[in-house]
């Protein structure tokens, strides 16, 4: 059984601690992740901006990198969902289309894999803090990862989950949107962190480092000491502490 890690650019370059948490947590369940070294980016920045030729180049790299994997796990609902766009990218290429469909069928976001495949909801963690959760749009709305993170957090000892007002609203990241429409994006992220601050939570947790980088960046800009982390990090830290 070959379970491969699709690390994603952000977790590779900026947030290696997220990948590490996933790897070490899954090892507890006998899953030895592999890291195909030829993987790069899912291609979403190019795809969403309309540069499909360029997106196809990225997509081909990813498809090749995971061709022989049985399961592909990533720490991002958004990058996982990008894989669901691959069939559309290759709709005129029957060979690649078939491969794209195969990859789509075996691609899982981290909590999806943990809950749906491993059947784990209680990782035996302890995390005595007030936490609020931002469900990222692509993961929750488009990929449909809604219950999994909540099930996992419910069973963390000491964790107090405070509902985030308007939780389902986009944080304003949107990839190149944050650069091209920086003022609209700025208004959105400011509103999102306002809601986070309203909860008085010590920790903001999520499943997508892009969104979390966005919100964390705004909180830091405003000198607000809210700790921002990926759920994998929280669980792993909680397991170590338990």
């Amino acid at each position: 059984m070959k379970v491969s890690l699709f690390i994603t650019c952000l977790s590779d370059a900026l947030y290696p601690r997220v990948g590490e948490a996933m790897v070490r947590l899954l090892a507890k369940y006998g899953v030895a992740l592999e890291l195909p070294s030829v993987q790069t980016c899912c291609g979403q920045p190019a795809f969403n901006s309309g540069y499909w030729k360029e997106a196809r180049e990225s997509a081909s790299t990813i498809i090749a990198a995971f061709e022989d994997a049985d399961f592909v796990i990533s720490p991002s609902g958004s990058c996982t969902f990008m894989i669901h766009h691959y069939p559309k990218l290759f709709e005129d290429d029957p060979v690649m289309l078939e491969k794209a469909l195969q990859l789509q069928a075996k691609a899982y976001e981290f909590t999806q894999f943990l809950v749906q495949v491993l059947g784990v909801t209680d990782v035996g963690a302890q995390f005595p803090h007030k936490v609020t959760y931002h469900p990222s749009c692509h993961g929750s709305r488009l990929l449909g990862v809604k219950e999994e993170p909540l099930l996992l957090m419910e069973r963390v000892d000491g964790l107090e989950l405070v509902p985030l007002p308007f939780a389902n609203d986009c944080c304003g990241f949107g990839g190149t949107f944050a650069v091209k429409m920086s003022d609209i994006s700025g208004a959105m992220v400011t509103e999102k962190s306002d809601h986070v601050l309203e909860t008085e939570a010590e920790v903001l947790v999520g499943l997508d480092m892009a969104c979390l980088m966005n919100i964390a960046g705004n909180l830091r800009y405003r000198d607000k000491p809210v700790r921002v982390m990926h759920l994998a990090e929280l669980l792993y830290e909680g397991v170590k502490g338990a």
Binding site: A32, T40, G119, H138, R141, S182
Partner: protein
């Protein structure tokens, strides 16, 4: 008012959005109302139950009708004519205007009372009527207010969403010639009295059309105020302007639309009035129009037919739920979109109706692609994906930004080769030393200018995940637990199911 119906100033969405973002009142007003409408919709959908089944049903009915639009539209036209309606076909806005003016001239009309119609906004019909000396009076309360203000609607359902009661009191006081208190009852009371007279003296009543029933030739209107009923009951002549895609096959199908539309628009179980008008008054009747016209308008709609990426746009039932759900709309309001239709549906519909993506420059960029519009849509139109298609088509038309194109080429070169990718990460780790302070980057220069106006950018850690992988891998392999046999067999079953075509997990988007 410019030719595109823009009054918010600024040539681009970005500039108009900036104006809106700096208008604190507008932002608050729009936020307040959209939040209420959105909550109302969510409660109504939950209360009704099986919402996704209803959405799917609505989608299927719309898909079916549009896929057979030649049959159903033809049937509708024949039936409406058999009911005594004068049916007209207009390929373009200009043609629809010409037909309407011709009818107004022959009716020797001095005044036209109108109930809310987005199609007439699309045609700029009021302006055209005024040019031939016919007074066009909007009778929906919100429309009346923005007509006095000389503006266009900023929301499909709540046209004056961007105005508060004080601004409205000022407009209506000027209209009344006396000071009216900024009290909703007082203001609405004034409009009721004023428009009562207008209804009774008007020569023509003009409406849009929510749905047109092919099998009976009936047109259906949803409203809360009673003004659409006034307009279709009192004047001698009725003109209805309908988009060619408003068709549904039967009254049975109307039940599904009547379930989806009011709940999605305002959270109501049904609007206060739902009227089915089948032809002009019967000879023996003592009210209703003596003469009834229906103008069927294309104006770019048929361009979506046969286009697999955009045909579903014609399924739209104009409920406004996507506006209320959209985090971008909430911050910038409707006028920033610069067209008749605003919000996510406007961002797609405006360029699609004109097939001139490039001229609408950045309208498709004004979205974070969060998918809230799709989730809110009662007929499941994938607007978030259509926005990407629009961006792609703009590039295909050779109207992309040269610098961005160069950047994307570089992106592809890096991302198609892991070695190059690793080299770039390394370069970043070294290069950032110039700008990193205290583990973060705050400089507002170059590409980071907009981002860092609202945020601190994190610095790259010393070693990337890959750079740490070798050690990590050795450690985990060394202390690896045995896998639970039950889990192992489940994983094997999943792989087997997938190979036999049973498996694979779908997505919601």
């Amino acid at each position: 008012m410019s030719a595109t119906g823009t009054q918010a100033g600024g040539a681009t969405v970005k500039e108009r959005a900036e104006l809106a973002l700096n208008n604190d009142f507008l932002r608050k007003a729009v936020k307040f109302t959209t939040e209420r409408l959105r909550a109302g919709k969510e409660n109504a959908a939950a209360d009704h139950g099986n919402w996704d089944d209803w959405r799917e049903r609505g989608r299927q009915i719309r898909l079916h009708t549009i896929a057979h639009l030649d049959y159903y539209l033809n049937l509708f036209a024949d039936n409406a004519r058999a009911n005594g309606v004068h049916v007209h076909f207009a390929d373009t806005a200009a043609e629809a205007v010409k037909i309407s003016l011709d009818i107004a001239k022959h009716a020797q009309a001095k005044t036209v009372v109108k109930s809310k119609s987005m199609v007439t906004e699309e045609l700029h019909l009021n302006h055209a009527l005024e040019e031939i000396g016919v007074e066009a009076i909007e009778t929906d309360l919100g429309e009346y207010i923005i007509q006095l203000a000389g503006e266009t609607p900023s929301h499909i359902i709540i046209p004056a969403i961007h105005k508060n009661r004080y601004q409205i009191a000022e407009l209506l006081s000027a209209d009344a010639g006396e000071t009216l208190a900024p009290d909703t009852q007082v203001l609405a009371g004034f409009v009721r009295r004023k428009l009562r007279e207008k209804f009774l003296e008007a020569d023509i009543g003009m409406t849009g059309c929510n749905f047109a029933i092919a099998e009976t030739g009936s047109m259906v209107l949803f409203e809360n105020e009673g003004n659409a009923r006034m307009v279709t009951t009192v004047p001698k002549t009725q003109i209805t302007l309908m988009g060619m895609e408003r068709i549904i096959p039967s009254f049975a199908d109307l039940e599904v639309m009547a379930t989806l539309l009011p709940r999605s628009a305002t959270g109501q179980k049904l609007t206060v009035y739902m009227s089915g008008i089948t032809g002009p008054r019967r000879d023996a009747d003592a009210d209703g129009p003596e003469e009834m016209h229906i103008v069927i308008v294309d104006n770019g709609r048929s361009l979506q037919l046969g286009d697999p990426e955009f045909q579903e746009l014609l399924n739209c039932i104009r409920c406004g739920a996507c506006l209320n759900a959209c985090p971008v709309y909430r911050h910038i309001g409707g006028h920033a979109y610069g067209g008749t239709y605003s919000g996510p549906i406007g961002a797609v519909l405006t360029p699609a109706l004109k097939k001139n993506v490039a001229e609408w420059d950045d309208i498709a960029n004004a979205s974070s692609l969060c998918g809230a519009c799709y989730e809110a849509c009662p007929v499941k139109i994938p607007l978030h994906e259509m926005l990407i298609y629009l961006r792609r088509r703009k590039l295909e038309a050779g109207r992309g930004d040269k610098m961005e194109a160069l950047g994307m080429k570089g992106f592809a070169a890096v991302m198609s080769n892991a070695k190059r990718y690793r080299a770039v990460v390394k370069l970043g780790q070294l290069g950032q030393k110039l700008v990193v302070r205290d583990g973060g980057i705050r400089v507002k220069l170059g590409p980071l200018k907009g981002w860092n106006t609202y945020r601190v950018t994190p610095s790259l850690p010393k070693a990337s995940f890959r750079q740490q992988w070798k050690t990590m891998e050795e450690e985990i392999r060394h202390g690896l637990q045995d896998m639970d046999p039950a889990v192992k067999s489940r994983m094997e079953q999943i792989v087997k199911d997938r190979e036999s075509g049973k498996g694979g997990h779908g997505h919601h988007g």
